[in-house]
Amino acid sequence: MIRAVLVTHGSLGQSLCEAAISVLGPQEGVTVLSNSGLSLDQIQERVLAALTTDPTVIMVDLCGGSPFMACCSLTGLPAQCAVVSGINLPMLLSFLTKRSQLTLTELADTVARDAVRGIQSRPSV
């Protein structure tokens, strides 16, 4: 099974997970981490501790934020990993519903596309 590690600012990852569970029910293989009060090295230590030998999509909130920086420069990974930034609820739901049908690389691209598709502007409602 492809696993997910969410690394976000504050409690965003936890809240996104709770929201996803309210839509899809309980899920396996998702670990949530926050960057609060952590240095880049400490974020990396926690991400590495959360990884298993299963392929993993690491989802971070802000491109350019410390979770992104830490995850883009990980070394000594125990499994194949992809990093995707800009996590939102559509991305997480896409991951949870499509992870059993795709390879890691396909899944990373797909969740990024689905996250963007979830953003629609209706300026004159």
Binding site: G37, S39, Q42, C63, M69
Partner: protein
């Protein structure tokens, strides 16, 4: 609200910041927007030698913001040539020790802004976002004694705290 230690005078560039996370949300979103920065320079030998990290740093900035990742020696040279004073530049260093190295290389630093130093083994809390090792204290104190105005401030909205050494 934005509290800037230098708000009464015209802001002088580059702003020099010590932050062990280098570029991250507080910088690329918070400070860039508060001050209208258009140039971020990360001066760090270890990071400059890591292509994956350089690519990540460059990917993290918004359109229109130039990100340079350079060796500390090269940063000192560019600083002294005036290249960082021509635009709204922020120079980001990993530690007070690196800031002191710039001084030793001949850079005239008027102000240093300590944005974030996380807890490490042997460090002590000065502020919730600033933990100083003995070496950090020595470096900051030497800079203060050389006339550098050292202030701590993580976010544009937090009040700057002057470090007196």
């Amino acid at each position: 609200m934005i509290s800037l230690p230098w708000s009464r005078k015209k802001t002088e560039y580059p702003i020099v910041r010590v932050d062990d996370r280098l570029l991250h949300g507080q910088v690329v979103v918070g400070w860039v927007n508060a001050l209208g920065l258009d140039h971020l320079v990360v001066a760090n030998d270890r990071v400059a030698a890591n292509p994956a990290l350089v690519a990540a740093l460059k990917a993290g900035a918004a359109d229109g913001i130039v990100v340079d990742v350079v060796l500390l020696d090269d940063a000192a040279e560019s600083f002294m040539s005036g290249a960082y004073a021509k635009r709204k530049s922020m120079l980001v260093l990993e530690s007070p020790g690196d800031a002191l190295k710039l001084l030793h290389k001949g850079v005239t630093l008027k102000a240093l802004h300590v944005g974030g130093l996380h807890f490490r083994e042997g460090s002590e809390e000065l502020l919730p976002y600033v933990f100083l090792s003995n070496w950090d204290r020595m470096a900051l104190s030497e800079m203060v004694s050389r006339g550098v105005r050292v202030t701590c401030q993580d976010l544009p909205s937090t009040s700057p705290v002057v470090y007196r050494g």
